[in-house]
């Protein structure tokens, strides 16, 4: 579609949506040449994400039209929205000045990030994490890169749903994904590489919530820990299920531990666990790592604790 056709269709769509100067947009546009004094339309795009988020309707979309950075501080997402850079563009969102790049604290939202790059601003006051979600909302990150942050790639607390698909999270200072106290997480076809603390941590720290993360068709490489399930509260459950994935070059590939309370567990099948300084570490009452007996677990340092074997069905 050429730009003229694209503009025509966008205009028709805008008409169909009965837009006017006051109505919120079903699709808001950002550009490196935009201006936040604009209406965030295709013809007059805005410059930064907060302006676009103000302009877009709940459930709408924000399109980054060209390669540029689209925030100057934490982007607080307060409505359901899909934020994407169009294919061929790099949509950059940065974390700086002690905050995350993106924050979601409102419940009941469905937020998607697609084809975005979340990173730090070298030589400026560092930020913390890539995306923080602390409410009962749904977050999907697709085809994106989260890299070089001081903190973690994604930090989720509470009853949030978090899904990482076709996404690379690497070289961050803490975890690729840290899920706490009730999060449901999915990591699929993604690469979690060189994150200092590790790949995935599911933790039950307070209360009796179930925290559950599945890792499928993915690579976890480097860092202190590959995957960890940990509980520190009575009744808490923390689970990580790893399928058709590879964990290598970590300090410890799999850690399941508790302080005596709760039930942390890791289940692994169809995966390769290799070249880790320690294969696994199981410690604390209730902790378990279960293998489906179809894994290549070779060339690691000796594990601590006994693996439980389950049968494939």
């Amino acid at each position: 579609m050429n730009p003229r056709q694209f503009a025509r269709y966008a205009s028709i769509a805008a008409l169909l949506m009965a837009s006017n100067a006051q109505a919120q947009l079903f699709r808001a546009y950002l550009s490196g040449s935009g201006n936040d004094g604009n209406a965030c339309t295709l013809q007059a795009p805005c410059r930064l994400l907060p302006a676009a988020l103000s302009a877009v309707a709940d459930g709408g979309e924000v399109w980054m039209l060209d390669s540029a950075n689209y925030n100057t501080s934490t982007v607080s997402v307060g409505k359901s929205v899909s934020i994407l850079a169009i294919p061929g563009a790099v949509g950059s969102v940065v974390a700086l000045n002690g905050g995350p790049a993106v924050s979601i604290t409102v419940p009941g939202l469905t937020v998607a990030l697609r084809n975005v790059v979340i990173g730090p601003v070298a030589s400026m006051a560092p930020g913390t994490n890539g995306v923080e979600i602390s409410a009962d909302s749904s977050l999907v990150i697709e085809g994106s890169l989260i890299v070089n942050l001081v903190g973690s790639g994604v930090v989720a607390n509470g009853a949030a749903d978090v899904r990482l698909v076709n996404t690379t999270v690497r070289n961050n200072g803490e975890w690729a994904l840290r899920a706490t106290d009730g999060v449901a997480g999915t990591v699929s076809k993604s690469q979690l590489v060189g994150n200092t603390l590790g790949g995935v941590r599911a933790e039950g720290l307070t209360g009796a919530a179930i925290t559950n993360v599945s890792v499928t068709d993915s690579l976890i490489s480097g860092g202190d820990t590959g995957v960890q399930a940990t509980t520190q509260a009575s009744g808490a459950t923390a689970r990580v299920v790893v399928t058709r994935s590879t964990i290598d070059r970590a300090g410890t590939a799999m850690v399941s531990d508790s302080n005596g309370s709760g039930a942390p567990s890791i289940v692994v099948s169809g995966s390769m666990i290799t070249e880790n300084a320690t294969g696994w570490n199981i410690s604390g009452s209730g902790a378990a790592i279960r293998t489906l007996q179809n894994n290549q677990i070779t060339d690691n340092g000796a594990g601590s604790g006994t693996l439980t074997t389950n049968a494939l069905m």
């Binding site: 790099v90 690469q191 390769m272 293998t291």
Partner: protein, 314 residues
């Protein structure tokens, strides 16, 4: 304008325009229409990688904005940096005049290449490798293509760490990936085609050279598709392969040591297809082992040398 608003605008200007004649940039820009006399900003991009590397801050980024070649000699990377071509463009880096396209000699760096193409220059004096790393640094290559080089696609000599993801290394004359002297590598979701394969050598001084290969294809390797070799004093060379295909190569899996049980060369593989190779496995030397997890598809190969051993899935 209030002071708060002024500060906000100033910060925005810094982020949006990466300005500042002296300050190093968090993001430096390259373009085919750029000039190395420019400050490497979005509005005034540079032309070649050395200028952008000099301009960017440590841990910063370099963006190639349009399709072009971005070097004229070996690019020496001397700081942590991510170098990427924006999606939809070809960010070319060439090897010529007897050198590699990219050289990393310092330790302690984190260097990433994303969506770049490393290639030779037809008609010019040939170069050698795509990327040659001798420093104990971390190198990540994502979504990239390395092809047609007279030397190795990627060479890591020493204590460096290499990660290759969603990339293709093809049609070269040397080794696709050469690891030695304690290097560690992870290869995932990648293709090695018509090149020399992955070679992990531990060459003495008790060093440990390792690699893991997942969800990848190695096809048409002129020598060994995967080789672990141990020489020297108490070395260990080890490669693990899973969910991968090795086919059409001279030798699929090769583990060799030069005759001492303290020289260990080990290949372990599972869930993989080894088919249509002239030699399926080549195991020689008393410290050399090729270990199957019993769930591989090994078929239609012409011959083998030595023995394999088996171990159980867990």
């Amino acid at each position: 304008m209030s002071r708060t608003k002024l500060a906000r605008v100033a910060l925005a200007a810094a982020l949006l325009f990466c300005s500042g004649a002296q300050a190093q940039l968090f993001r430096a820009y390259l373009s085919s229409y750029g000039s190395d006399a420019n400050p490497c900003t979005l509005q005034a991009p540079c032309r070649l990688l050395p200028a952008a590397i000099a301009a960017v801050a440590s841990n910063g980024e370099i963006w190639m904005l349009d399709s072009a070649n971005y070097n004229t000699a070996t690019v020496n990377v001397d700081r942590s940096v991510s170098i990427l071509a924006i999606p939809g463009v070809v960010g070319s880096i060439v090897a010529l005049n007897g050198g590699p396209a990219v050289s990393i000699t310092l330790g302690g760096l984190v260097v990433a290449f994303r969506n770049v193409v490393l290639a030779p220059v037809a008609g010019a004096t040939p170069g050698t490798d795509g990327i040659a790393m001798t420093g104990a640094s971390s190198l990540v290559i994502e979504d990239s293509v390395i092809f047609g080089l007279p030397g190795n696609g990627i060479s890591v000599a020493g204590q460096g760490e290499l990660t290759v993801v969603r990339s293709t290394i093809r049609n070269g004359a040397g080794l696709a990936i050469s690891l030695s002297g304690g290097a560690r590598a992870t290869i995932s979701d990648s293709h090695i085609l018509q090149y020399g394969g992955l070679y992990a050598q531990s060459n003495g001084a008790s060093n440990v050279t390792t690699a893991s290969i997942s969800d990848s294809v190695i096809s048409g390797a002129s020598g060994a598709a995967v080789e672990a070799r141990a020489v020297g004093q108490n070395p260990l060379a080890r490669v693990a392969v899973t969910r991968s295909t090795i086919e059409g190569s001279a030798v699929a899996l090769k583990a060799t040591s030069n005759g001492n049980r303290n020289r260990l060369a080990l290949i372990t593989f599972s869930g993989s297809t080894i088919a249509g190779n002239a030699t399926s496995w080549h195991q020689s030397g008393i410290g050399a082992s090729i270990v199957t997890l019993g769930n591989n598809h090994i078929t239609d190969n012409d011959s083998f040398v030595g023995t394999t051993t088996s171990t159980s899935l867990q």
